[in-house]
């Protein structure tokens, strides 16, 4: 399961670098592509950063009751923006659309090879993971921010001897 989570994140991250190389963020003092997995970040009280995709893993279950071993795991991707100061934040809707476009772009094609990253360097596991088209839920507007949560179901076969 961990290999699926890691492979999905790395695939989206690498695609984001290709699609929108300027979409970066400084997290924990390091500048990196603006995508992060919540459970991999240090636990603290800092609010999520704007213009950054935050992946959060949810339920996992057998994809079909009959069971050929295929598993389905929910992933939500949350992001928000406050627009730009030059435009007095009036462009936050446009910025959200730009984030939507980036997300749709990095989710296609909806598959990637599965790797084991537990040793620090990727080891090919000889299988792939694949996922559903992203569902863009209704945008949520706050006084200063507008954001959205996107849900995706990722399918994978659990590896023997893999956590």
């Amino acid at each position: 399961m961990q290999a699926t989570k890691d492979s999905f994140y790395v695939a989206l991250r690498d695609r984001l670098v290709a699609v929108d190389p300027n979409r970066t963020v400084t997290l924990d003092g390091a500048t990196r592509p603006a995508i992060a997995v919540v459970e991999n970040e240090p636990p603290n009280d800092a609010p999520p950063l704007c213009d950054t995709f935050y992946l959060q893993w949810g339920n996992a279950k057998l994809a079909a009751p009959s069971g050929n071993g295929l598993m389905a795991m929910e992933c939500s991707i949350a992001y928000c923006t406050k627009g730009t100061a030059q435009n007095a934040s009036l462009d936050r809707g446009r910025d959200l659309a730009s984030l939507d476009n980036d997300l749709l772009a990095i989710c296609a094609p909806p598959q990637t090879a599965k790797y084991d990253y537990s040793s620090g360097s990727p080891v090919a596991l000889g299988s792939t993971i694949f996922w559903t088209a992203p569902v863009l839920n209704a945008a949520k507007s706050g006084p200063r921010y507008v954001g959205r949560e996107v849900t995706i179901t990722v399918f994978f076969y659990p590896e023997v001897n893999q956590s």
Binding site: A30, E41, D45, A46
Partner: protein, 139 residues
């Protein structure tokens, strides 16, 4: 001349900051240890949670540590009060401008062999100038 024409007497906020420092010293003059992580390497291993950045302990004095009511789930809570005049020179060393935001990224408050997570940071201001930083930490 009315009070409005005179305006606020300059330096009022400095007096409040000095008063805050005096209060912290008179209420125990305790030392507190805050732990924060060094900048991450930013490589794939750190992004996947495989490699934790090294942590540093900052010992800060004067500080005031108050025991708060336990949280709803029974976990211990404390409040750490620190003076702005103490934190500002430290923050300057790390090129930090927004001290409250910086404190929120800390790993926690070290109490004996326990690390208590910082759940909330409040700033008390007088005339727009930060005087006290109040950190609520939980088990």
């Amino acid at each position: 001349m009315s009070q409005d024409q005179l305006g606020r007497i300059r330096g009022h906020e400095c007096a409040a900051r000095r008063f805050s420092d005096a209060l912290l010293r008179s209420l125990g003059n305790t030392q507190v240890t805050l732990r924060f992580a060094n900048p991450s390497s930013g490589d794939t291993s750190s992004q996947l949670g495989l490699e934790a950045p090294a942590a540093q302990d900052l010992q800060i004095s004067p500080a005031l540590i108050k025991t708060l009511e336990p949280a709803a789930d029974g976990k211990r809570r404390i409040e750490v009060v620190l003076g702005a005049t103490t934190l500002e020179p430290i923050a300057k060393l790390y090129n930090v401008e927004d001290i409250a935001a910086w404190l929120r990224t800390f790993e926690g408050v070290v109490r004996g062999d326990q690390l208590m997570r910082i759940a909330k940071v409040n700033v008390d201001k007088v005339f727009g100038t930060a005087c006290l930083f109040r950190l609520t930490a939980t088990e």
